[in-house]
Symmetry: C2
Subunit: 166 residues, 2 copies
């Protein structure tokens, strides 16, 4: 079991110009209604613990990982804790590795649950990963939107964003 | 948010004589087929991180918690890591607090996934909690059975058992 959910693979620097605003996942983003209140957060996400049994060169259905990360703001202050799991659910003939992610994000001002399917190839390539997020407590309660993250350098903290509106 | 998934409530010592072999959950345990190979493990389960927003005096549907624990054998050696989440799913007129638990258990010799519903009142009372477990990797692969745990003293390591057969 590699100690990384994705960082064992080399990330091509040229892949990092792809953002969450350009991919199919972003195209499916819910458009907030006019006048909606939105909360947007950006963090660095260091990993405290990360275990998985995924064969990164050829992921198999049923392989999975778990992780315990923290969220830190741009001043280095603790803003929250994430625990998540992912599991390879299907592979398509064209090579997509459909991987289900589920996360609970305990922020200092509330709780967000995030869940969705990503292509594990995008994780390995350092592209923005994006799936649905709903606020379940605190200032986020009743809001919904997206949780996004991307690998910058394998085994280093990832970039993280949460945007929820309502 | 209390730092405990259950330990904030006092556990009556008299409740601790109840075991997983006597409750309804145990009654639903799968009987291993004759000649089945079984693996049984007993651990102490110290908690590394535990966050929740459950109103222990009156849990509400949708309240949830996350935890990151370790499993230690009777010689104090590290045997694995658990990450889990629980969420209150329903309350019955007679007072049961049906709480869904899902856990991934990365042991030094394989991986077990456990999932099921417990009555949160049993957690608070220090009774054995028991739900289904399936082996997904290593020596546990292809086996199924139960994951069990109970609170001994609030905010202290819990007793843990895993038994899978196949």
């Amino acid at each position: 079991m590699s100690p990384s959910r994705s960082r064992s693979a080399l990330v091509a620097v040229t892949a990092l110009v792809v953002t969450g605003l350009t991919g199919p996942a972003a195209a499916a983003s819910p458009e907030p209604a006019r006048g909606a209140r939105c909360l947007s957060r950006e963090y660095t996400e260091p990993q405290l613990k990360n275990l998985q049994n995924v064969d990164l060169a050829d992921p198999k259905v049923g392989q999975l990982g778990i992780y315990h990360d923290e969220l830190v703001d741009d001043r280095g202050a603790y803003r929250g804790t994430i625990m998540g799991r992912y599991e390879v659910k299907a592979k398509t003939p064209r090579g997509a590795v459909l991987t289900h992610y589920t996360e609970d994000i305990f922020l200092t001002d509330g709780i967000v649950h995030a869940e969705g399917v990503a292509d594990f190839r995008d994780v390995l390539a350092g592209r923005w990963i994006s799936y649905r997020a709903i606020g379940v407590d605190g200032v986020y309660k009743g809001l919904s939107g997206r949780r996004e993250w991307r690998v910058i350098v394998p085994d280093e903290p990832v970039d993280a964003r949460i945007t929820v509106c309502g």
